[in-house]
């Protein structure tokens, strides 16, 4: 993190001039606010931030933050972000997206990003639905939620992002709530400051296709979980939680993957190898 001297920064210093296209009341607005607040607290120069997203309502966030953004293709943000971080270890690379983008189509990159444990921050705006495509069940949707595509529910258990992140090797695993601005900003700060792969799973209501999720604003508990680096304890907490706890479920100091390079060779050295 680079600290720059000078006046206090505000979330607005990290907002671009593109107006969000989200529905009025969408939880994603709060995530945008919490993220820009976290960046302001950290005072990271805008140009040192890489914000990489996929496709979805949530993934539109890269256009709304004043930074170097990449709005890529659906489900591949973690891979693109890993490439960026590989060549630019000096940057703070934040990857963001939705539950569909990250846990459905992007599931493989999620697994391998956790395992690789690069120093990336991954913000998942989980509304338990595909908002952008108008309300289909996502991996985190309850098995009995009725929709056009699954009129009697999918009948399939929910994806457990925290548990899977833990099993795959992520070194920082947190859950936040769009409704708890301050708590969420703090989680994001911790995640960015953590060295290694940090997952911040955020419960954020889709007011249009899942209006019942507005209840989350009340139901989610403010930071109830304190960090541990004991994997089994973390597993117990994750699998024991009703899903409404927030906080850092696991944080550990694990080897961080960052490709290194030197400049010790010249092109002539390589050419010489071919000579006969």
């Amino acid at each position: 993190m680079i600290d720059i001297a000078g006046e206090k920064l505000s979330p607005e210093d990290y907002l671009s001039d593109v107006r969000p296209v989200w529905c009025p009341g969408c939880g994603h607005y709060f995530v945008l606010r919490a993220l820009t607040q976290a960046l302001a607290w950290l005072r990271i120069p805008n140009e040192q931030i890489g914000l990489v997203t996929g496709i979805g309502c949530s993934s539109r966030i890269s256009a709304y933050v004043d930074a170097y953004g990449f709005h890529g293709v659906h489900g591949r943000a973690l891979a693109l972000g890993a490439g960026l971080k590989a060549v630019r270890p000096d940057m703070d690379v934040i990857v963001a997206g939705g539950d569909g983008d990250g846990y459905s189509i992007g599931g493989n990159h999620f697994l391998h990003a956790c395992r690789r444990n690069m120093d990336l921050t991954y913000i998942v705006m989980d509304n338990e639905v595909y908002g952008m495509t108008k309300g289909q069940p996502s991996p985190t949707t309850e098995p009995d939620w009725q929709s056009k595509l699954a009129p009697e529910g999918t009948g399939i258990r929910r994806f457990n992002p925290l548990g899977i992140a833990l099993a795959s090797g992520a070194s920082f695993i947190a859950r936040g709530s769009a409704g708890d601005q301050k708590g969420l900003s703090r989680l994001i700060v911790e995640a960015i400051e953590h060295k290694g792969f940090s997952l911040v799973e955020i419960k954020t209501p889709c007011v249009t296709f899942r209006p019942e999720e507005k209840a989350w604003y009340k139901r989610m508990r403010k930071i109830t979980i304190e960090p541990t680096d004991d994997m089994i304890l973390a597993a117990q907490r994750i699998h024991g939680s009703d899903g409404f706890d927030t906080g850092i479920f696991y944080q550990a100091d694990l080897p961080v993957f960052q490709p290194h390079f030197t400049e010790e060779k010249s092109i002539e050295d390589f050419e010489k190898e071919f000579e006969v």
């Binding site: 120069p45 890529g72 960026l84």
Partner: protein
């Protein structure tokens, strides 16, 4: 043994044997020996369906001038045994001019070989090897072949040392003894090398895949991300240990979807980036290739083609991913497609391709193929050269400017901001966008950006790199148009016809997209045009017609893989066509 005219001072050797018999090592030693002796050579290898332990073979062609194609038939074939030899009947043609030497301590001479009329020499290498502790039959075979070619023993021993260097003194000693013994086993022949003129300048021993990798290094590619696949893996395996000592690195991706997106991320971060793959992996990269085009992020994708469709023929060569490279992406997706013509050209064309990606800020696809990529040749060192192709970068400035990432400029290329530059903050987007990068679905923005993306690749002046034209004359009546690994055999055919007096010329296309339609028309208009390619449906032929580069009267010789499209076959086709 065939007698060789001055124009065709070459000799061909093949070696075959069961897995573990060391046929491939024998080939590598012979190739290096020839190089040491001051000559040139070209080697391709083949194996049966077994993963390991199956039969394998090498086919070599040597000459005192650069050679990059296999001969019509083997002058000398050495069979370490006859295991699975029938699988190579297509790849190792034998005839009455051939000399077949075989180790008779295994199976007897197959009838199919006897019936070719080749001269047969039997040796018993088991006995020899039993007598010489630590020796293996393939080393004797190398000695025997060297003596029959008239290859100086020194050149062979030197090659042996280079290749066995890491295996230790013991092994080298036994092998060199075996080579010596082999060398003295049959009556030594001086022909055909007698008339050859050795050269003394620097040459390289290099495969097409290595050449592509070197080209990328020359172009200052600093980041590669890839997922292994035959026959492309060698490229990134070559780069992995080198790039990290050359200011860059290689990342192993979980799949090809990740690989290409990683490369796009690296390039967005400011480093020239690439990936390499083959058909199935290329198919998985399609979506993100469109992203590179739409978001205008430079990226080089090398596709070392193998036989298709689907998993197809993973270890065999074909030129059938052309359609996909040109038209595989959804939407209007203008980009650049290039293809090298031979191994040396892999260096040059890859360097050019990576430069074009940087300069034009778009996707460049380089199409190599298994034959080009996995063949190994002794070639003249490829002189270094510079293309003035750099990424146009937004100057670094403090404070936020009013940067328009996708501004329309005269050459349709807008300076790209590299993260870290305060003045250049923007969001790259695969959604259609305005000049500033803001998502837009307005017809006017779409049209503007479609035009911009197309104009920057079509209006660029590609100079003389777009093709190699040869034998052109005022009087040219026939033009043979080809590309990729077929080039050398086509060139041999055209050259022969030209020297026999045919008014014939050759055009080897290096730039396939954007097609240099007018330049092709200028060379082909009013001529008899023959398109030669290794595909079933004639992909290049239909493409050239569709773009209006050639007329409806053009002909095509299109043959699918995996067999090589030989120069005789090409010549015969042209002759017949010319007489029509």
């Amino acid at each position: 043994m065939q007698s060789h005219s001055i124009q065709d001072r070459s000799v061909s050797v093949s070696v075959s044997g069961a897995g573990g018999s060391g046929a491939v090592t024998a080939g590598l030693i012979l190739l290096k020996s020839m190089a040491n002796a001051g000559y040139y050579g070209y080697m391709t290898r083949f194996s049966g369906p077994q993963i390991r332990g199956g039969e394998s073979a090498v086919v070599l062609n040597f000459s005192d001038s650069p050679v990059e194609r296999s001969a019509r038939s083997s002058d000398i074939h050495f069979a370490l045994d006859w295991h699975g030899f029938e699988r190579f009947s297509d790849e190792i043609p034998l005839n009455s001019q051939s000399c077949v030497i075989f180790d008779n301590s295994h199976d007897a001479l197959p009838d199919s070989v006897a019936s070719t009329g080749a001269k047969i020499i039997e040796v018993n290498l088991k006995d020899q090897a039993d007598q010489l502790k630590g020796s293996r039959p393939n080393a004797f075979a190398v000695g025997i072949v060297a003596s029959q070619l008239g290859l100086p023993l020194n050149a062979v021993l030197e090659a042996l040392e280079q290749i066995l260097e890491k295996k230790g003194e013991e092994i080298f000693r036994a092998a060199s003894e075996a080579v010596r013994t082999g060398y003295g086993l049959l009556e030594k022949k001086a022909a055909p090398l007698e008339q050859w003129k050795p050269v003394s300048h620097t040459r390289w021993n290099i495969s097409g895949n290595e050449a592509c990798a070197l080209g990328a290094l020359r172009a200052s590619v600093k980041f590669a991300a890839a997922y292994p696949i035959t026959p492309a893996s060698d490229i990134v395996e070559y780069l992995a240990p080198r790039l990290e000592k050359y200011g860059g690195n290689v990342m192993i991706a979980e799949d090809e979807l990740a690989a290409i997106n990683m490369a796009i991320g690296g390039s967005f971060g400011g480093k020239p980036s690439m990936t390499a793959t083959s058909g199935p992996g290329f198919s998985l990269m399609i979506e993100a290739m469109g992203l590179a085009i739409a978001s205008e992020v430079p990226v080089l994708v090398i596709n070392v083609m193998r036989g298709g469709p689907s998993t197809g023929l993973p270890t065999k060569s074909e030129q059938t991913d052309l359609n996909q490279a040109l038209f595989g992406m959804h939407g209007e997706a203008p980009h650049v497609v290039v293809a090298p013509l031979d191994i040396a050209d892999c260096v040059v064309t890859t360097q050019w391709a990576a430069g074009l990606a940087e300069h034009l800020q778009t996707l460049v696809v380089l199409l190599s193929d298994q034959r080009l990529g996995q063949s190994r040749a002794i070639i003249d060192a490829v002189p270094s050269q510079t293309f003035d192709l750099k990424r146009k970068i937004l100057p670094v400035q403090d404070g936020k400017g009013s940067y328009l990432r996708y501004a329309v400029s005269p050459d349709s290329i807008s300076p790209m901001a590299i993260p870290g530059n305060a003045a250049g903050r923007y969001t790259a987007d695969g959604l259609e966008h305005t000049v500033s990068g803001k998502p837009s679905s307005m017809a006017s923005d779409h049209l503007q950006q479609l035009k911009k993306r197309e104009a920057k690749v079509t209006q660029f002046d590609y100079g003389r790199m777009w093709a190699e034209a040869s034998f052109q004359q005022e009087s040219t009546e026939i033009v043979v148009l080809t590309w990729g690994s077929v080039y050398h055999n086509a060139k041999a055919a055209v050259s022969e016809l030209y020297h026999e007096g045919s008014p014939i010329a050759l055009l080897g296309l290096r730039l396939l997209m954007p097609l240099q339609t007018e330049a092709i028309q200028a060379l082909c208009k009013g001529k008899k045009v023959i398109v030669v390619e290794q595909s079933y449906s004639g992909q290049l032929y239909h493409y050239l017609k569709g773009q209006g580069a050639i007329d409806a009267s053009a002909l095509t010789l299109a043959k699918p893989g995996p067999l090589v499209l030989g120069s005789d076959e090409i010549k015969a086709f042209i002759k017949e066509a010319a007489n029509d």
